[in-house]
């Protein structure tokens, strides 16, 4: 499988919800199923519920949610 890198910056929106499937969830899918995780220049992704309140701007780090 081709190795690629994946980097992500999370912004906690000021709306209460987005009706689209959770962006972070989709990116979990990308990271786990499409990309070779050994090549990891990216920060790991945490589920949205675990993200700190980053109103405005911010990066985050953590371990992927294996349940996704």
């Amino acid at each position: 499988m081709k190795q690629v890198g994946f980097e992500y910056q999370a912004f906690v929106g000021t709306t209460d919800f987005k009706s689209s499937p959770v962006t972070t969830g989709a990116l979990f899918l990308a990271k786990k199923k499409l990309f070779n995780e050994d090549f990891n220049v990216a920060q790991n992704i945490r589920p949205a519920a675990e993200l700190p309140d980053l109103k405005g701007n911010g990066k985050h780090s953590g371990k992927p949610d294996d349940s996704t």
């Binding site: 690629v4 980097e7 992500y8 910056q9 209460d16 919800f17 987005k18 009706s19 962006t23």
Partner: protein, 202 residues
């Protein structure tokens, strides 16, 4: 709870997104709840030199939610794809970064925003930049074309995110990078499908 979107659902979602951004291209003020325009770019720490270089009309049309250029390096000579380029600001920044030896492609599904970008960037953009109307779910590029794919506040809007990410993977060169900034959910999704579609874009 996940559910399948019908083609009609997708059409409604895409239509609402296009309408929103078409309105934004005509009148940017007050269309989003987060800082946009010059204030947005400054808060997100875009290079001040670049902000000053851009026409005011273009700066006013900035509506990104993050700064993809703060996530990782883009190098001179690289080929970059900007998904959901909108008014073209991130495309312009990428073009400045890769220089004449590099190439940058910007795609967006909103005709009005692309027209806005072309109108305001024509004098600034070099021959190594292309802007075209296209969908992230069907990227009009050959396999392994790009060193970097960037996107700013776009993936949350895409109906078929899995397909879009698969397309990014397809067009990335080996050891290429996907660098995106986007919004994430902090509450629960609406349970009712109709409500969820209606609120897809606010």
């Amino acid at each position: 709870m996940e559910f399948e979107l019908t083609s009609e659902d997708r059409d409604r979602i895409i239509k609402s997104i296009r309408q929103k951004y078409a309105e934004f291209s005509r009148s940017p003020e007050g269309k989003f709840t987060y800082p946009t325009g010059r204030l947005g770019m400054e808060k997100l720490k875009y290079d001040q030199t670049i902000i000053e270089e851009l026409p005011n009309d273009l700066v006013n049309a900035y509506c990104g939610v993050g700064n993809p250029f703060s996530i990782g390096p883009i190098n001179e000579g690289e080929r970059v794809l900007d998904i959901g380029c909108g008014a073209g600001i991130d495309t312009f920044v990428a073009a400045k970064t890769v220089g004449n030896r590099g190439k940058v492609a910007g795609i967006d599904m909103t005709t009005e925003m692309l027209s806005y970008a072309r109108k305001n960037l024509t004098k600034l953009l070099s021959d190594n930049v292309s802007l075209q109307e296209a969908s992230a779910e069907a990227l009009p590029y050959a396999d392994e074309t790009f060193d970097v794919v960037i996107s700013n506040g776009v993936f949350n809007l895409i109906p078929d995110k899995k397909k879009a990410v698969e397309e990014v993977y397809r067009v990335l060169k080996p050891y290429g990078k996907m660098m995106i900034a986007d919004q994430v959910l902090i509450g629960s999704l609406p349970v009712n499908k109709e409500e969820r579609i209606e609120s897809w874009f606010r």
